[in-house]
Symmetry: D2
Subunit: 341 residues, 4 copies
């Protein structure tokens, strides 16, 4: 059966598995202190153009959001995020579980605007009752967003400036960052992100790894006792090598960039196919997730031969569904889908 269900249906890029095999019987120290973690850190720093960056490896996306947000916020602070943000909606309350509120603000196609953010912060600090409210302590954005959309460099700069104006850090969730950077329509690079964000993560799980996310603190701002905090969140891997080796492979010889481009190439063809077939788009995305509106009976029929994701109800007779490509998607599968449609 064809599947465009999500970007984590396969295992890992074969080069990663090969490297895990080659290094398997080496005796390495635990908890991220091994040489492969160190090598991966060095390569990520170089790719970010940020020699002073502090890089830590965590296992999954929700975990990374939870650990980063909980350790960077002060005790009465919350994280500002789009109302549709992953931390707002799809993490089973992981942020609140750490005692912090997600301060939801309006968005457009998954993106928050610098002016919306500024207005929110301005209103907060002007409110005579703000001491009875949750202090905005950091800003969360995802790039690409939940809707596959991307911030322009101009937009990122503007958001970053607002954060600096108000003295709060900007955090970017990069679960699908590889696909964002590989988009033909973006003008944002990894060094731009390292410059404009205070902390961000480069997602591995959805971009070729078995698991793993690389958190990058860019401003000499790693929270105190960070390793202990990671442990306390149940997020510290004894065999840290599993994460280090994977990122070391991904950041060797441009593999991360190369496999990200495959997702974009197949997504672009997918988009073209949908356009040709006259499908309505819920929104236009230049990354690996495509959102189309299907009539319900058409959707059910298609579902017999292709896997895709329910996104949300559009109206009584239509549904928004998502088709995702990834590093592992084969162009021939897209062509098969074209035939089916």
């Amino acid at each position: 059966m064809l599947s465009f269900e999500n970007d984590y249906t396969e295992g890992a890029h074969p080069k990663i598995l090969e490297r895990l095999m080659e290094t398997n019987m080496e005796k390495l120290s635990g908890y991220g202190s091994d040489r492969y973690c160190e090598s991966a850190r060095e390569k990520i720093r170089a790719a970010c153009g940020c020699p002073g960056a502090d890089v830590h490896f965590l296992v999954g996306g929700t975990q990374t959001n939870e650990v980063v947000i909980a350790t960077m916020l002060g005790s009465c602070e919350g994280v500002v995020a789009a109302r549709t943000g992953h931390v707002s909606v799809h993490e089973a309350g992981a942020i609140e579980y750490t005692g912090h509120k997600v301060l939801e603000i309006p968005e457009t196609e998954g993106k928050i605007g610098a002016e919306t953010l500024r207005a929110y912060l301005h209103t907060f600090w002007k409110d005579a009752n703000h001491e009875h409210m949750v202090f905005p302590g950091m800003v969360y954005i995802s790039h690409p967003t939940e809707y596959g959309t991307l911030y322009t460099k101009e937009e990122l700069k503007a958001i970053s400036e607002v954060c600096r104006e108000y003295g709060i850090p900007l955090y970017m969730d990069g679960a699908r960052l590889g696909y964002g950077l590989a988009s033909r329509e973006t003008d944002v690079t990894l060094p731009d992100i390292a410059k404009l964000c205070d902390v961000f993560y480069i997602g591995g799980t959805k971009v070729g790894a078995l698991c793993g996310e690389a958190v990058v603190f860019t401003k000499n701002n790693t929270p105190k006792h960070f390793m202990s905090a990671v442990k306390r969140h149940g997020a510290l891997l004894a065999k840290g090598r599993l994460l280090g080796i994977q990122f070391d492979v991904l950041f060797t010889g441009g593999l991360f960039q190369e496999i990200s481009r495959n997702a974009i190439g197949t997504a672009e063809r997918l988009k073209q196919v949908f356009h040709e077939k006259g499908c309505r788009f819920y929104l236009e995305s230049s990354t690996n997730q495509q959102f189309v509106i299907l009539e319900n009976s058409q959707m059910e029929k298609l579902a017999e031969q292709v896997r895709f994701s329910f996104w949300e109800t559009y109206d009584e007779s239509h549904t928004v569904v998502r088709f995702a490509t990834s590093w592992a998607t084969r162009m021939e599968d897209v062509e098969k889908l074209a035939e089916l449609l």
Copy 2:
């Protein structure tokens, strides 16, 4: 200086202080097990027409919301509330601090509608990804709301029905319940509330007490180890008598109802005065809080002689402000305000 700043500017109704004096040297057992707490419980049960109710006394409103919500929610559940609800906005993140999300839904004049609630719950359970989201575990309403508005009996019934349909409890924040019940425009009684809600509280702090809120569990549904949970939240008073005696006095001879009517009578005159002077209302309230829109220079001038509360910015040149009356407001002060205007 005249003050309509809020409904907690004075101490307590004199009868409360007198009774505290009379009983002062009695040796009583602690933590709410004394005879005055028991007597107050009995009187509250009677006033609610709910002989099986379980009544507990807590100290303040935020504390009560926090303790009730945290003890009634299951581990992956959140509380559904109006986007403007007190727990959503004005409790410094107290609910999130207990690890639970406030699931904000749209409101009108501070009230949530049964249909909005049903749609929210329906969408949640139909969502194929709902296991990655926060489960709606209870519904929070306030009556009167933050805007002084009231639910009708019909509206309350409809909300209560939705809650029963989905098997989740309905909780009413009654910080100003006395004023709600005393409104001339309400058809809701205390026994109605006891019947329709699973838990609610009768606010004392804003209705004649020095401090204290009476939580009423109406359906034989007090959370397990409740007294220990209260202690764990730092909310257990050693001298529980302080709360018991106050509620015992308030619920003797209709004092609670009588002093609530004073707030309504003075608020109605206040409203009339604003209408006569041609003030714009932000919204119409039949309880003790009145929200008017003042032109900024007018507001500043008035502020030299009267205290009132900033509510929110209306536009560049206007501000929404609140005037509150209480059990202690004297009609002559309203007349003085009339003269000033």
Copy 3:
């Protein structure tokens, strides 16, 4: 019936109630910003010989411990306390509820020793695995302790020095501080405490107030957003005057000291009576709590005419019980007990 059950069986010192009455109808601002709170703060600063101290009023003891400890600890830190400490045993897990561990160390008669503390901290920092453990982030002592015992000035100094050596704050729980300061056997004064501790509280609930504890930050070290943190813990009183007025009365004209002495005088007579009757002491205390070992049938018989507290099982046929005096204990009641024995 005679009662030596605890030190919170009566209401408040009559002067407090009188003052609440006198000031009752004054319109005052909320949340601790009124003039009585300010006056009480000033008097407490003077009594502490610490003009720069920052004073905040909270409602009860567990709440105070919870708020102070949670706001002063960093994210991976715990509080070091005696294994018998109130925060370790008798607060229903309030500290852990804020996410922090109580690091229990051995004690003698409720007191921790400077050398035990130093050894603990030394071992922690030397442990190659300490990043997998909870960091000791502050030290908690109570004075008097749960057993009515007192630290000498020398002992306090030594503990304070260890804390400074390791860069962590020293916090004193002063729920019964008044009785500790009034003991004939102490050489510790309030200014000593202000000098040696980084934060402490002066208990009101057990020393003449209806409720209320005054937290004193002595080293310009109030946690950021403290008022919001208090609110978030459900601990912010709308009518802050209730606390301010009480402490203002207690710290006027030496009332706090005077009423504390009554507890000591009656406790000394109580002790003498027990000695005369040949009772075994569980330990010797110079404050208002006396712990004696009663044979079980003797205990049951006595319990028919006097109230006292179960403390712990001593052996199969004996029980440790506690007799407490307070600001309100009358000498004639002690004499009646003497007759009964």
Copy 4:
């Protein structure tokens, strides 16, 4: 350099990596719903002789303890554990971070005794003040313990009986369970554990997997919304296959048992070597961890050629150190160590 530093220095058993390669490009559904997870669950149920068991895969040990304990405890409950237990000492406060206290009781060589436990529970429930304390809500044991020691079947039965008497679940941390089951001195089997415990986990990280622990709920007692709770703790793996495939391999053809025996065989030879060389043992263990007492200069010299773990200071001139074997330890390395000694 020789290394006996711990039991997670190598990667995974080669068969696991081979299987990951073979299945790598299969498109599988996420979050543990794939066919390999299902197959592994079935095999674990069979190995446990518990067809009704519910099996979930988590990533690491601290995470597993945190998720299981937090989801099984009620709101005012804590977990009873040995004072030396992993959850008490070496998890950076992960349990407390979920709001629950670890109730530490005395142990012998890492084991708690049924009578110590019964006495603790008896005293708790008899204590007139127990509502002011943390309720014991479950019992945590590890098997093997932190000291490599094992419970006998008789001891486990007795602990299990106490738990049933008091109506609280028994939880076994099986981070090294494979090595416990493979010990020549044990009479405890996996079906015994499934019968006597309410929940336990089979550790993969230390017994041949890259990562992964299999939690087994044996009494139809999986906490409500468990998958969402796992997500909320940041513990849900998108590519659940990574865990399922590993456990599927480990529980095929007795691999788990076979590789566990290698650790025991090499540990026994190690023990023999230490005995021959006249080393003092800190305690005798029949599993893969051996604790010996070295004179400090001897320890430093040895450390130049062999890696082992600091355990704790014994006295001024001696240190307790740990030597660990694992599924990957080669007998020739033990012989090399023998030569060195």
